[in-house]
Symmetry: D2
């Protein structure tokens, strides 16, 4: 319901993974109802069905890259919009039932992506341990707590939930890795411009030729709108036909972004608006120019054109 802040949240489960940790950084969610979903499609379907007000799902990992299933759902499923982004550091810990020396560890449970992100650390500190693939970071913590494995790679929240002893923290090979989550809701007016926003789009081009993509980029460039992300994503039909996921600086309510979007609408096979929302500033470089300055330039040029059309030359 427009105007009513969301109180029922769903996130990519299980409990004790990064998604829950990210969701807890949103005050309304920390106070509200939070339910885990088994998959991204399940989480988003809960929102579509009205069973939840918003879903928190991962979209991009500074190590693992795009989260394909989320992009696919946003581009192809029943329309939803991103209303907020949450960026949290990728922090892994090595947890165990109790204190144990590294050279006594024979088995480490880990989700395959977590293992990949801690590969160098594992080789340097527990070179002889067998790394056992499990289905999620939370499953790893559960397995270690149950004594099935000597240790587990898990997220800090998961370790504390299961009462594990943290043998080592910050064990990811890239110390600055982050994961980017999107809070997704049913369509409605976007939050008001904050002065430093991101707009996400899914753009379908008719041809996979450089000329078509160049034309898309020119629509942004001529309006002074910066692209911060671009990803070709297979359409699911055949390789070589793509949808592009684009993030640009600015809010759909701003003149320059609005004009760029209209330009895309005219030249692309299809454009799907995926939301305008405040940038999670701490994790990015300096902000783009403020809304007011650019909007004033557009207002000035519109007034000038009106004078010309009226024959009122200076």
């Amino acid at each position: 319901m427009p105007g009513v802040p969301p109180s029922r949240f769903v996130y990519l489960g299980p409990e004790g993974t990064f998604s829950e940790q990210a969701l807890l950084t949103i005050p309304a969610a920390a106070k509200g109802n939070r339910a885990p979903a088994r998959s991204v499609p399940e989480a988003l379907d809960a929102v579509r069905a009205g069973d939840a007000d918003a879903a928190l799902v991962p979209v991009e990992n500074s190590v693992g890259g795009q989260v394909g299933v989320t992009l696919d759902e946003l581009a192809n499923g029943e329309p939803l919009v991103i209303t907020r982004e949450v960026v949290i550091p990728v922090e892994f810990v090595l947890g165990a039932r109790g204190p144990v020396a590294f050279d006594a560890i024979r088995s480490v449970a880990a989700h395959s992506q977590a293992a990949a992100q801690c590969r160098r650390w594992l080789r340097d500190h527990v070179p002889d341990a067998v790394v056992v693939d499990v289905l999620s970071n939370a499953t790893a913590a559960i397995g270690a707590a149950a004594g099935e494995y000597d240790a587990a790679i898990c997220v800090p929240l998961g370790a504390s939930r299961k009462g594990l002893t943290v043998l080592a923290d910050k064990i990811a090979d890239h110390p600055d890795g982050v994961t980017r989550f999107a809070l997704v809701a049913r369509p409605g007016p976007p939050p008001p411009p904050s002065g430093d926003d991101v707009t996400s789009l899914a753009v379908y081009i008719s041809h996979d030729r450089v000329g078509a993509l160049l034309a898309v980029l020119m629509e942004f460039a001529v309006r002074g709108v910066n692209l911060t992300r671009i990803e070709s994503y297979p359409t699911g039909e055949r390789l070589g036909r793509y949808v592009f996921f684009l993030d640009c600086s600015g809010h759909v309510g701003e003149a320059r972004v609005g004009e760029a979007l209209q330009g895309l609408r005219r030249i692309c096979a299809d454009v799907r608006f995926l939301g305008s929302y405040p940038r999670a500033q701490a994790h990015y470089g300096p902000a783009s120019p403020t809304v007011s300055a650019a909007d004033a330039d557009f207002a000035d040029s519109a007034a000038w054109l009106a004078r010309i059309r009226a024959g009122d030359l200076p």
Copy 2:
């Protein structure tokens, strides 16, 4: 006075030159008052001062190129706008007081540009004649009529005015040469879109770098507006700083042209609107897409953006 059709015309004289011939193709001028001016600045100043309603001056010659003084006046003088273009074939005749054989012609009076445009013909037909420079095509006709020269290169109108015998017609080396004239008036609302219009601009860029010009061209390209003419013209300050004269397809009242102009306004040091007027179709290739189609595309994209901003996703 807006709404009152022009009746007092001035043209680049003297009488009997191409400018008068071009002016006579405009019905209102054929019926109205027509006065020759000694120079382009004098003709335009007559309009600025209110002594004439409109001036017909040359802007471009398919052989001789741009008419610098006209461009300079339009770009730098008190603002005026082009309301109509007239394109007439460059047709020269060789006239004399009476019938005379080519090999009896010892002297030919000609304006230097006319002589240049008929150089090959002169060499082939009257190779032994001395070509004498005179101040205008009309002066040449007068001189031949007075018997000062055996013959004169003149325009058809000039030959008939002075009662000359036409010894040869269509003697220009480029048989398809044309001259383009502009009918210039005091600022006022442009004539309504005709479906096939030209818009003329003078654009000042801050830097003479390719990047700045590329940015100007991109403003047109992204809106699907074709450029039909581009000329860098020295600003009169120092070489290397230029104003660009641009002609594009379309009318300032159309959405795509209006949006492109607004874009130029935002990125250029200055933009001067020089008029939107019907293209003189017979002398160009196929027409650009009709106004209505492009405007419908812009209206559709504006409506789509409005729905997005309202949160009303399809």
Copy 3:
């Protein structure tokens, strides 16, 4: 060893998954030695260490998107090159120990990506079955063969390996889905141009601004080289700084591709060449123009320039 065809292959295991199925389409691998690896990094490290001649790893899925870990390894690890691409249809079957009616199926084992790709089919045909996440398509087949689950989503090769009865085939929701694999080897001269090749690059740009990306695309566009894929991928440092993975039509040995690469080298922070190899044609649209035609254009323009520099104007 250059000149010696590869005979020892490694692939992303376990046995009975798409990677093994894809590897078997390469004649040298079908006859040679094939070993599964536990992960993409492990497979590539085997090649780097000389324990294998080539590794087959997934790079892109027409449903799930980019395979982040493969891109990360190619962009950041010790250099390797792609020498061949293999594209195979994503075909899933529902397998069981023996014939069983759909409504008698209570549990289905499936890798989470496989489950996502068959979601609609599962909902329509076995709506009451519990889908149990397992670690791989091969694990699912093993579990069904052992009777742990009533059925399993697996790949055709995996079902036949485990002697499963195929209850339904082609159960993926996107019937045309494909997965693209790369055969990766230690650096060496690329295979000769085939007339329809792909060149893969990892390009680092200094700024994440649209202008920098536009400049990259222009390097391709001016040489008439088509981009077939573009993906920004986080550099692992912080979100907002990206490496771009680009696939273009053509071979590094061709003039137009060579000149475009040199241009990138001059304007980008870094460019890593990832290989030139024949396009897996059956899965793409019409081929790009043949090598010889474009190379002839470049040779003609080089000869023309040489004449100009020598003062030998036509």
Copy 4:
């Protein structure tokens, strides 16, 4: 004859005009033979026929714009190349047979372009004088010396040649106006790069669409070559089909300019090289980057490509 410095010069006459004044700034011409020509075509034909080694002709005027006949000859006549540019200030003086008060001046002889460039001065200082059009600045000086007119607008050289008293100097309305001349010779190897050169081209494009011109500009932009002048010039066939005269920074012997020219050759209907020659520095802004730096970048990228093609990855 290559290697032999030119000694026989021709210039746009008559004597005592700007062209002669400009020619005298070239040391070889000041010492050599100098002959006036009646027109630009005549001057250039003298070079083509071998009757002169080089011709000095005007190409551009910071007030009057392009000199159409020169451009037309260079683009369409038998090939010639520019080997040097000369830029001189446009300086007009008012000369008379002897001292005379301004208010006693009743007639002023002037070439129409000179009168246009001094219009404001004439209005302010000799408002009542009749300005009489004559054929050239030299003719004006001759007429004043002969007593036909009370005064004449002429160039300093012309006034001193005819022994006129200079009543006022620097009377041009634009005090910084300059005229740019080209020294034109028969084709031969261009002078060696000076580190700050200009390259002139005539470029024919198949279509008059913005896309075609954008493509031309992109060829320069991607190689970091600055355009300093661009002019569409009618081809003499029909309005709307143009040849573009382009000046860019750099020398045809430099890698970046050479590569840009090759690109134009591939995409344009025709390209005519009009010369690489040292920039007349005093009249322009800061120099472009030196030759050596850019050439080193191109050499580096060529070496890098050669390593890649050999399979020698870093």
